[in-house]
């Protein structure tokens, strides 16, 4: 069986199509599938941002005061890290389509995973600082206004959910690296590469919106 043939799964292998056509159709189906899932995720994070919007409208002052307490340096650094990981992910996804770019693909995948880990490390440092500053909602919360606790409830929840998504992304990319190292032909044109990196891109986009929501509110004045 050819390299492409090995990658065709049921039921795409029984459509009576030639190998290359079946492979292309399977890839296109998989891409569509992950986009449908991303649409679903848009609703998931949409609901989270809706909560943010409604609560901020109801408690504008408390939210501004609370957002000033987040560490904008960590936040901006992390945004830059994730945007850069988006770059490497995109390059990896395009390079994986070319036969001769296996090394580039692997390096970019590795860089993507590494940047993801760096993000989590920075996030961990930030969490430690937040805990030291008593920014965890509860009786020892640092700010006087009660609704400020809502902001930090949202902060911990949204960053936590995002971190879980990112960790899944790191796992997926790590799996691609492992498979790609073992089997020289596995990466080329494989739908799984594109799927993982599209998911990565979406996690990126979520953070792009979390950044102004969590770090930029209430900075002026």
């Amino acid at each position: 069986m050819s390299a492409v043939g090995k990658l065709i799964r049921e039921p795409w292998d029984e459509l009576g199509l030639s190998e290359s056509k079946a492979f292309a159709l399977q890839r296109s189906g998989a891409t569509f599938g992950i986009w449908v899932f991303i649409a679903s995720e848009v609703l998931f994070f949409g609901a989270i941002f809706l909560l943010y919007a409604a609560m901020r409208i109801e408690h504008a002052d408390a939210f501004a005061a609370a957002a000033r307490e987040t560490n904008i340096v960590y936040g901006t650094l992390n945004t830059a890290i994730l945007l850069t990981s988006g770059l490497t992910a995109s390059v990896a996804s395009r390079a994986a389509e070319h036969d001769g770019l296996r090394r580039l693909t692997l390096w970019c995948l590795a860089a993507t995973a590494a940047l993801g880990l760096a993000f989590l490390v920075v996030k961990g440092l930030e969490y430690r600082e937040d805990i030291e500053k008593h920014l965890v909602p509860g009786p020892r919360f640092a700010l006087a206004q009660a609704p400020a606790q809502l902001f930090f409830g949202f902060y911990w929840l949204s960053t936590g959910v995002h971190a879980i998504h990112l960790s899944i992304g790191i796992g997926l990319v790590g799996r691609l690296i492992g498979k790609g190292l073992r089997d020289h032909e596995w990466l080329v044109g494989n739908a799984q590469v594109e799927i993982a990196l599209l998911y990565w891109g979406f996690v990126d986009v979520v953070w792009i919106f979390l950044y102004p929501a969590l770090y930029l509110a209430g900075r002026a004045g």
Partner: protein
């Protein structure tokens, strides 16, 4: 093979030729437990789902029985208040998330969707298996919550009761529902990709059977509504277990926001339950009326319109909640609009009967019952969409009766209609028709006796979720409880005779109802590969008129029955 009849490629092979050199049926394709638990065959996964949801149907049913038994008298005489609250919560949670929502899509949908469009399997078979495990895992988590001591929030999990005040196992149950939500999303993605990518040659969008359209539109709701439920439940867990305040009113949180998010999912969830039912009914009515569906394209548009507009109407659950009166009017208006496509469907089914050759086999009895019950359920929905009436009957037994007419009267009737209709295809066995008809009729009358009195009790002012109630409502509750006993018997009957038929029923031919769909153009039960050869579709579905062209260019010779061994 020497029979002269085999000269025509499109006819069935002689039954005596059964040991043809053809694949065994999906049931005979592996006999170990592992061959079931690790299967990627959509048909076997459908059976796995059927086992799980049947179990949960009876779990929820037992809870309902105890609730109805308790309500026989106005006083508390069977269980205490906390137990009662846990019973109706269990009933709601199990029936909504572990029976109704997965019921038709994951069993008949899984089994029939690829067969109806001429595909070998769903687009992502492994994902399909993962969905089943997620569904099972969610169910077990919820069951664990019940065994640990139960949950008493009602299926709606309203904050701040669920986050701050309830002393029951909310987190565990909520996690169970959350996990089953992921299962639902995965199923939705799978169905959508399958319909887009794996239709057989000639199976254009407007040749799809309405059941496939129903699965497709249901999947849209799966994918687009369920994530919002996931967020809502995550927030409940975060607030309850990690102390992250989001809805806590003491710190400025807004419980009405929770209700918005909850109903953004849970109203479309009603359409998740009823759209597949509509799909089943369209298949059954056309077959037993021997008539093409009246207004096929309008039926399709109606399905799509219900799935779309169904997302805009959630606020009618919140008219008395303190929501803004302006928003209430907008939601009221949209709720009236969504009733229009439902009405169109009812009229079209009725018109399909006109000039038919109507037979009254048991699936058709269920389908005709569906028509009546769905009409009553839908029209009482208009009462609830009218703000002043809703203010009176919201959270009373009127609402309980209304949604049971839709979810039980319509959806469960359709579930049984479909189960009987496709039973020969799924199991390769015929069920005892007389018993099936008796159960269908008993179910219809038992249902009406159970739930119609609840409309009256509700209008008279009996609130729902009441353990004890003012004595003037007793007569209606006695009627309702009596009906519930009939209904329970009617639900147990199919369990008995269908199980019997699996072992002792006569062998089913490939197309016992002389139906027109692609799923009947293969053996009963079908082989692992679904079809013999590559089906090609030539015409519209519901080809029941003698004058029309044969719909399907048939495959090589098909054995007249699948292998059960």
């Amino acid at each position: 093979m020497s029979s002269g009849a085999t000269a025509d490629a499109t006819t069935l092979a002689n039954p005596r030729e059964l040991p043809l050199e053809l694949p065994a049926s999906y049931l005979a394709d592996g006999r170990t437990l592992l061959s079931w638990l690790a299967t990627t065959d959509h048909k076997r996964i459908a059976i796995l789902y059927a086992v799980v949801i049947t179990f949960f149907f009876f779990v929820g049913g037992i809870a309902a029985t105890l609730v109805r038994l308790e309500l026989f008298t106005p006083q508390a005489d069977l269980v205490g208040s906390d137990t009662y609250n846990k019973l109706f919560s269990l009933h709601g949670i199990v029936m909504v998330w572990f029976f109704l929502i997965p019921s038709i899509p994951t069993t008949m949908g899984n089994f029939l969707l690829p067969l109806m469009i001429g595909a070998r399997d769903l687009a992502f078979p492994k994902l399909n298996l993962v969905s089943w495990y997620l569904n099972l895992g969610g169910g077990l988590l919820t069951l664990a919550a019940v065994l640990a001591g139960g949950i008493d929030t009602g299926w709606t999990f309203y904050v701040p009761y669920s986050t701050t005040f309830s002393n029951s196992f909310v987190t565990l149950a909520v996690l169970g529902v959350l996990v089953s939500g992921f299962s639902t999303i995965a199923t939705g993605v799978n169905f959508i990709a399958t319909v887009h990518y794996l239709r057989a040659p000639g199976m254009t969008w407007f040749r799809l059977p309405l059941f496939v359209w129903a699965m497709y539109t249901t999947s849209l709701i799966f994918v687009l509504a369920t994530p919002v439920l996931a967020v809502t439940l995550t927030l409940v867990v975060a607030e309850r277990s990690f102390g992250l305040p989001i809805f806590d009113p003491a710190r400025g949180g807004d419980p009405i926001l929770f209700q918005h998010l909850f109903w953004f999912y849970s109203h479309p969830a009603v359409y998740i339950m009823v759209l597949p039912a509509m799909g089943v009914i369209s298949e059954v009515i056309t077959c037993y009326a021997r008539r093409r569906i009246f207004g096929y394209s309008f039926m399709v548009y109606a399905l799509v319109a219900i799935a779309m507009i169904g997302f805009f109407t959630w606020g009618h659950h919140m008219f008395t909640s303190g929501m803004s009166p302006y928003a209430a009017l907008v939601f009221s208006f949209l709720s009236f609009i969504v009733a229009v496509p439902s009405a169109i469907k009812v009229f079209n089914w009725t018109a399909t009967l006109y000039r038919g050759q109507i037979g009254f086999e048991s699936p058709m009895l269920y389908a005709l019952g569906f028509l009546g019950l769905f009409t009553v359920g839908g029209l009482t929905g208009l009462f609830l969409a009218s703000v002043p009436i809703d203010v009176h009957v919201q959270d009373t037994y009127f609402v309980v009766a209304h949604f049971h007419y839709i979810m039980v009267g319509a959806s469960v009737s359709a579930y049984f209609a479909g189960l009987h209709f496709w039973w020969p295809k799924i199991t390769g066995r015929m069920y005892p028709e007389a018993w099936a008809r008796f159960a269908a009729i008993l179910m219809f009358f038992g249902f009406n006796l159970t739930f119609f009195p609840q409309f009256i009790a509700g209008y008279l002012g009996m609130p729902r979720r009441y353990h004890v109630y003012p004595p003037e409502f007793q007569v209606w509750n006695v009627l309702s409880s009596a009906g519930a006993a009939v209904l329970a018997a009617a639900y147990l009957m199919p369990l008995g005779y269908l199980t019997w038929s699996v072992f002792f029923g006569s062998r089913a031919p490939n197309d016992p109802w002389n139906a027109s769909g692609l799923e009947w153009r293969t053996t009963s039960p079908p082989p692992r590969q679904n079809f013999f050869g590559n089906p090609e579709v030539l015409a519209q579905p519901y080809n029941y008129h003698p004058e029309s062209t044969p719909p399907i260019k048939d495959q090589p010779r098909v054995p007249s029955q699948g292998s059960l061994t």
